[in-house]
């Protein structure tokens, strides 16, 4: 599904990723953990195509294509989805406009027929229920005035609607209370599929108690320092990142 080879990226003159190697096979869930400033968010942003980051070396192959050559919208059409750490507020645009436009743009590029208003509403109501969101969210402006938890639920709602092949979830657990964490976690679990891969970027173990990853990687100083199964997350929670970084 995704091969990241020797990926180097920088912001301005500052190198952030210093040779990332990672293989994600179809159906797998990988968690990237690491201290603040280790490059976790940079990795997911580079994969989604944010242009503030400059890739200086290495390659990313996604389903046989050179992912780094694609525009962000082309990546979305190809099935890549990024759940933002800080979802963007767009005052003046109703949530439902964005949701419907996004769903139909992605469907069009996958050769699926456009969803008519009635079909779309039926689908979105189903997904709202999963995310325990009120229908009023559809008619509010995109993320404007949403609480931290509502924004993250809105991200997972978008993921549910867009049905990506590769989901990049950037600190989706940050700013969530216990209940919201459970709802978001279940929303992610519901998307688990043999055809879909997930890259979870997180600082804490708590989301990984709900969404159990197949592999855990520790990112520090722009490199993957250690990889293991889900028990590695528990070890990190006990021992902290310091021991890993020193190793």
């Amino acid at each position: 599904m995704l091969s990241i080879r020797n990926l180097h990226a920088r912001v301005g003159d500052k190198p952030i990723l210093k040779g990332i190697n990672l293989e994600i096979k179809t159906g797998e869930i990988h968690a990237i953990m690491g201290p603040n400033g280790s490059g976790k968010s940079t990795l997911s942003s580079v994969l989604a195509g944010r242009d503030e980051y400059e890739v200086t070396d290495g390659e990313v192959i996604y389903q046989g294509q050179n992912l780094l050559e694609l525009e962000p919208e082309e990546r979305a059409w190809a099935g890549v989805f990024l759940s933002f750490q800080y979802p963007v507020e767009i005052p003046g645009v109703k949530n439902i406009y964005l949701l419907k436009a996004a769903v139909n743009a992605v469907r069009e590029h996958r050769g699926q027929p456009e969803l008519k208003a009635g079909e779309f509403l039926k689908l979105v109501r189903e997904k709202l229920k999963v995310m325990q969101m009120d229908e009023a969210f559809l008619h509010r402006n995109v993320n404007e005035g949403f609480s931290g938890g509502e924004k993250k639920r809105n991200e997972i709602l978008q993921m549910q609607l867009l049905e990506p092949t590769l989901a990049l979830l950037d600190e989706t657990d940050s700013g969530l209370d216990v209940d919201a964490l459970r709802i978001v976690g279940e929303g992610i679990n519901q998307m688990r599929s043999p055809d879909r891969s997930v890259l979870l970027v997180t600082h804490y173990q708590r989301l990984l108690d709900v969404v159990k990853p197949d592999f855990v990687h520790v990112l520090a100083q722009g490199e993957i320092k250690l990889s293991g199964d889900h028990t590695l997350a528990q070890r990190l929670e006990r021992e902290g990142y310091e021991g890993i970084e020193a190793a």
Binding site: A48, G49, R50, D51, E52, E71, P72, E73, R75, A76, W77, F81, L82, F84, P87, V88, I90, P91, G92, V93, K94, I96, Y97, L98, K100, A101, A102, A105, V106, H109, K116, A117, F120, L121, L138, N141, Q158, L162
Partner: protein, 398 residues
Amino acid sequence: MSGFSAWLADAEDTHAIKAIAVGLPTKRVESWKYVPTRSLARTTWKQADPQGVEQFALTAGSFVNVPTLDGLSVTEPDILPGEQRRLNTMSEAHGFALTQAALEHSRLILTVEKTASVALNLHHIANQASSAGFATLVIRIEAGAQLTLIEQFDQVTVDQANLSSLRCLLTLDRDASVTHVRFQAANSNAHVFTNLDVECGEHSSYRLQTIEFGSKLARSDIYVALAGKEAQASVNGLAITNGSQYHDTHLAIDHVVGDTRSEMTFRNMVDGKGEATFNGRVLIRKDSQRSGTEQSIANLLMSDSARVNPKPELEIYADDVTASHGCTVGSLNKTELFYLKSRGLSEADARAFLQYAFAEKIVEEIEDPEIRDLVETQLLGELTHGELIAELKESVDV
């Protein structure tokens, strides 16, 4: 020489002589320094011919089909001394204002009677090529009365420069309330001039929403005086300036007395080689204590050759005042664009979404659903790739 010289020479008006002597304002006149006056000077202007219409309209400087409504009376054109003073001040503002005064073709004086509630919809009919109409509208809104005044422009094609000018005096008595919507979508060769002077009495409330999409050149001089205690004014505006258009709004709110509140919100979106000027001035006089004002100006530049000249001015001489202000100039926000594109929207659609969002913050405030729909529909027509949003509105708005 201005393109009005011959016409002014024929006009029997004291302002005319002065207007000829002063001429059109040059770049040296601060409030006119960005106005491209070339087409005004080059056209030999003549009085327009009125056109037959069925609605209440302004055509060729004349008001036609003035409606007969309960609570609305048409007054003989006897101007009150206070009104005359305000008209004089308006006329002296700059060389073109003198021309507007001198070439006034007609004057309509209306009174909204005490505690009455009246809605007026004034249609601006385009004048013919190389012709102009100048008119003055005076409305007195008596104590406790309510007025909704909607101005809209017909959409036609006129193949050469045409001009319309409206000077408007509104006087709000105690407890009166006015909602005023101006939707300027005039033809692409139109030169539209507006001079608006509003005086708000005690406990009255004035709300203006001004939307400019149309015309080749539009200039609005707006002055709102909060002259009675507890008076409040809210002015919000949007100008979308494209191609080689020029839009210019000079807005001043004057807290003449204390315990008054004002709010000013203006957004410019400029594309192509368009140029927009916004001067927003708030004056809180020395004795106007316990007054409050909020000012917000945002400018969105869509192309490298678009220009915007925003100038916020707060002049506060009282000490017990709350005031906030902000002015921004920028292009579309990169993070917002990335967010939309990461959801599968094409670059063009993402840009249209954000332009729509920028304008909609003003448009969504229009209360009258009919005029709001009209503005939104035309707004989407103004945007490159506005079709997607039009289709979305159609399909999912309930």
